[in-house]
Symmetry: C2
Amino acid sequence: PDMASIAGAKERNGQLTKPPGALGRLEELAIWYAGWRDTDRPSIEKPQVIIFAGNHGVCAQGVSAFPPEVTVQMVANFEHGGAAINQLSKAAGASLDVVALDLDMPTQDFTVAPAMSEGEVVLALIAGWAAVEPETDLLVTGEMGIGNTTSAAAVAAAVLGGDAADWTGRGTGVDDEGLARKTDVVARGLALHDTTDPLEALRCLGGRELAAMAGAIAAARHHRIPVILDGFICSAAAATLEKAVAGSLDHTVAGHLSAEGAHERLLDALGKKPLLSLGLRLGEGSGGTLAINVLKSAIACHSDMATFAEAGVAAG
Amino acid sequence: PDMASIAGAKERNGQLTKPPGALGRLEELAIWYAGWRDTDRPSIEKPQVIIFAGNHGVCAQGVSAFPPEVTVQMVANFEHGGAAINQLSKAAGASLDVVALDLDMPTQDFTVAPAMSEGEVVLALIAGWAAVEPETDLLVTGEMGIGNTTSAAAVAAAVLGGDAADWTGRGTGVDDEGLARKTDVVARGLALHDTTDPLEALRCLGGRELAAMAGAIAAARHHRIPVILDGFICSAAAATLEKAVAGSLDHTVAGHLSAEGAHERLLDALGKKPLLSLGLRLGEGSGGTLAINVLKSAIACHSDMATFAEAGVAAG
């Protein structure tokens, strides 16, 4: 971040017509955002939401409450405007892009082989990087992919340590038996692959949409676009970047705490405090997109409020 | 609420293209909102934010970090568009009205006399009632009034029980000595007045802006307009209604948890779980207004998403 912009934003914040600190986290957010946008008085005009969709060979193990063909059906639903994320991005004033990643060619079942070849994971990273509009001033990366909480749990365990059970949750809603099966699948994936390198974890246990989110978050850093992380799957993808290079996620904020069991553990490991906690567990970038208005509101207060001097208000 | 609309909204919610419960609290909010709007598929088009401003005789006791003339200065700031609430209501797509209540005639210092006469409190209640636009479909009531966390603490203690220290906090930012003085002032007010009747608590210990918020919240119930409660002062005013008639706040939701110390205790007493918790402690309706987008997003998902049948998605 740009330290001069941060210093300027802090100074401006102290002059606005409110008691010191009275806007709470909105003040921190505005100063953080200013640092990445290289100005002490930024604005948010063009937020972008991108949903990456992928299919998972590990679905053959019976890890999801939904059949894998739902991924392509939901992509059509996104394209026709019928999904939750369509309504949420409209309410947030954000553009929405949907990137379907080889849905007719699922990844390999990671209990028997690496999910992706080196070529495949690189193509997915590049697809993510390329999907970010450089003129965007706030990015949310979301996903759709039946089976991908299983994949995300395996990636999180590989990158952050701990047992399969620490990271495996109910996803779209598996029962106790399904959860036990899913946990076993994650454990077998972890046992099979050497995932000391975080990008190898992404390749062997992840999915195209996880790799694409990682690519998009890295691209946003390159373009100095702050990112709102979505839920468990997005956070697991992001964790591979942080593990590869510490500080890689300094331009990101956690949009929400998902109801997926291990998301809190994952955010704690990343040192991120979520903006919202409303029990969402949908994916699609839904929680991150719901947080766009919080960022917009923070920036609107910071950049458009009057100072004590401008308003003729006694500063206490 | 209208039970047929609630039943219809629950049925619709179960058919939307998402796993059951995956939108978390947004689903509850939509169903609750539908019940008060008498339709299973509501919309939010015209949210209204109203700030009531009042001055407090108890400022003579040195209870605030800011001088009392800041109330009228901030009202001018609201009218010129320079305050936080101007930016927040714009970001939320809400109209903003400011109602200044006899600012040149502060209430009486409640450590020596009732804050208001019966005529005064009734006029303030009516001003609040009259300020609600009947065509509004979502209301936020906010306030401005130097000294009013002292007044709100006294009202909360009178209505909900407990000691002055349980309810007294730092407001706009008093130091330890100021907090001790403020707590003593609240205790003296509680000792002086008979506040068994909650409307007597509002009259003797409250302020015009607290009474007006209570009047506005009651008017919203009459017009079947759901209300987002703001922070500590708004919640204390609302508590007088709940104490007078249990269930009076069923058409309200808590917009946020304020950083003012006793707000959590107050929301617990009202059985309200806040939507946001971002450390705000500004007043002006700021936290409630920040929550408007959460409500709007909930309703947009509920009313505009495709069903599984419409989208041709397998329901799992």
